[in-house]
């Protein structure tokens, strides 16, 4: 039977107790944002220069690469399809293109290929950084980190505490739903619904049969969670205190500095030495 959890790593947390895991979550979140801004600022050379840093983070975190790869299959297929379209329909800024092949409105040019590589790489960097943050940061750390970072907004009456809680719960519901979906599919198979084969209409009907119970159970779960929080007197807002005080050490700041320096270097060096790829 299907094991959907194998193909979806979104919202998972894999504890390897590495340095990356133990970092102050705020530092990790800020680093992620640095990566996000960086990936929109730079072109292909800069992106390539940032890859060693990603590799370093990956090696330190010690999470099995095959796991990330198999969990990103759907994403990678999607990306590949987009890349093919970008190559075929590329109409660049350059009047002169090294056209390799052309037919009707589609064509393949060297510039088009490089452009597609750049866009794909940009998306991969974005995806990878966010995935890494989730895989290497526990739910509690993520909530605390986000909350502390946006705490100043509380003064202008932004419900920071509630917003972070809601977003973190939403992220963490994804794996729960997937597990639930698997369970449903298994039980329905046992009752005689086949999940293999069939035309598109049959497939759509089968998915419909899964969607309604999954929504029902989602609402039930949400209800339960609210009730559980109520019975334990949960209250959001500015007056909440924390069991753990978060304190960033100098090592945390060092890591942030290192990431920032690397990214600035990767951004500026290609400009300085005039390294451009079309």
């Amino acid at each position: 039977m299907l094991e959907l959890q194998r193909n979806v790593i979104f919202g998972q947390y894999i504890d390897t107790r590495s340095l990356v895991h133990r970092l102050d979550p705020r530092i990790k979140i800020v680093s992620m944002w640095l990566f996000v801004i960086f990936s929109f600022l730079v072109e292909l050379p800069g992106l390539l220069l940032s890859l060693p840093l990603l590799l370093m983070i990956h090696l330190i975190a010690g999470i099995d690469f095959r796991y990330i790869l198999s969990g990103s299959r759907i994403f990678l297929i999607f990306l590949a399809v987009i890349a093919v379209f970008q190559i075929l329909f590329y109409r660049g800024a350059f009047a002169e293109q090294n056209v390799l092949w052309e037919w009707w409105i589609v064509g393949v040019s060297v510039e088009g290929i490089f452009f597609a590589i750049m866009i794909s790489l940009r998306v991969i960097v974005l995806y990878y950084v966010v995935t890494m943050l989730m895989l290497a940061t526990s739910l509690v750390d993520l909530t605390d980190g986000l909350e502390l970072m946006f705490l100043p907004l509380q003064r202008i009456r932004v419900p920071v505490n509630e917003l972070t809680l809601v977003s973190v719960i939403a992220i963490k519901f994804v794996p729960i739903f997937i597990g639930e979906l698997e369970r449903l599919a298994r039980a329905q198979t046992a009752r005689g619904i086949s999940f293999e084969g069939g035309g598109p209409i049959m497939r759509a009907r089968r998915i419909g049969r899964l969607l309604i119970p999954i929504f029902l159970s989602g609402f039930r779960r949400a209800d339960l969670l609210t009730m559980a929080m109520d019975t334990r007197c949960y209250q959001g807002g500015a007056n909440r205190t924390k069991l753990r005080r978060m304190q960033s050490s100098s090592a945390d700041w060092l890591v942030l500095g290192f990431v920032a320096l690397w990214l600035i270097a990767a951004w500026q060096i290609p400009n300085l030495i005039g390294w451009t790829i079309p």
């Binding site: 039977m1 094991e3 959890q5 194998r6 998972q12 894999i14 390897t16 999470i63 099995d64 095959r66 796991y67 198999s70 969990g71 369970r183 449903l184 298994r186 039980a187 329905q188 198979t189 046992a190 009752r191 005689g192 619904i193 086949s194 049969r209 309604i212 119970p213 029902l216 159970s217």
Partner: protein, 296 residues
């Protein structure tokens, strides 16, 4: 189909060295079964008992080929159910599974329609389907006329469980695999369910497998007790024989029937008191006999 006259002693289900790891080759891998071998004869009533996380539910899934097994084989009537040419849809019409959470297996939104789902999918005529739905719902204390048009999600947890059971019973499968069938039922509901199953067991010559963390639930329906722990079979035998070693079962964190626990405590007074006592009458008789012996 295997010709049964050729192999009269062939078991209904044979599990051979079942091993299963969820999400293997990933950091989230968890081992559920570490080599389970079991034969279940036609008409046998087997309790599979073990603590939580012992692999019971995984074992239940294996009966209807709901797992992608890497190691191990399952034979139904002597045929390998993982073979590519094997008709698994037919297998699932002959193996009725009640899952631990009944919500997962309720497909339709109306009680009558849901119980009819299996028979309809199996291509039974409407009249026969209706008869089976009525019979199954009535047997579980959900009168057909009153419940057939009720919405499934408007029912209570215990009622939903009964609807799920009715859906399985309506299939008239020769093999019933029940995962924690008594969970979420009140004592009366339990009693009713046990009576229904006891009756069906005789009427339809059912083969029953009950997976449970509690021996008391299973003891009411089964004569054979298989204890599994950490994905392995640790004890297998007639239920009374297995209960003789009550200490071992307790060490495995298995809930024993009250009478067995009571007998175990009374051993401080009567060291030779047996523990394999399944009813209060048995216990009373044994204790009285010893008291009379002492008085004499």
């Amino acid at each position: 189909m295997t010709d049964l006259s050729e192999r009269p002693s062939a078991p209904l289900v044979e599990l051979r060295d079942l091993r299963h790891t969820y999400l293997d080759d990933t950091p989230r891998a968890s081992v559920a079964l570490r080599g389970v071998t079991l034969d279940i004869a036609r008409g046998e009533h087997v309790a599979v008992v073990g603590p939580t996380m012992s692999g019971k539910s995984t074992l239940v899934d294996a009966f209807a080929h709901l797992l992608r097994l890497k190691r191990g084989m399952v034979f139904y009537e002597g045929q390998d159910i993982a073979a590519p040419e094997y008709d698994r849809a037919a297998l699932r019409r002959r193996v009725g599974i009640l899952f631990q959470q009944p919500d997962a297996q309720i497909i339709e939104d109306v009680v009558g329609k849901d119980v009819a789902f299996g028979p309809t999918a199996a291509g039974l005529p409407a009249e026969e389907t209706r008869r089976r739905v009525e019979e199954s719902l009535d047997a579980l204390g959900l009168p057909y006329r009153e419940y057939r048009l009720r919405y499934t999600h408007g029912l209570s947890g215990g009622q939903r469980r009964r609807v799920a059971i009715a859906g399985v019973l309506a299939m008239h499968t020769p093999l019933l695999v029940l995962d924690e069938p008594m969970a979420g039922l009140d004592p009366r509901g339990r009693g009713e369910l046990v009576r229904v199953l006891q009756r069906l067991r005789e009427d339809r010559e059912l083969t029953i497998v009950v997976a449970s963390a509690s021996v008391s639930d299973a003891a009411l329906l089964c004569e054979r007790l298989v204890v599994i722990d950490e994905g392995r079979v640790v004890v297998d035998g007639p239920i009374r024989e297995v209960l003789q070693d009550a200490d071992r079962l307790l060490a495995l964190d298995i809930t024993l029937p009250d009478t067995v626990r009571c007998a175990r405590e009374l051993r401080s007074l009567f060291p030779d008191l047996p523990t394999e006592l399944l009813s209060e009458d048995d216990l009373e008789r044994e204790v009285l006999r010893r008291l009379e012996g002492e008085a004499a």
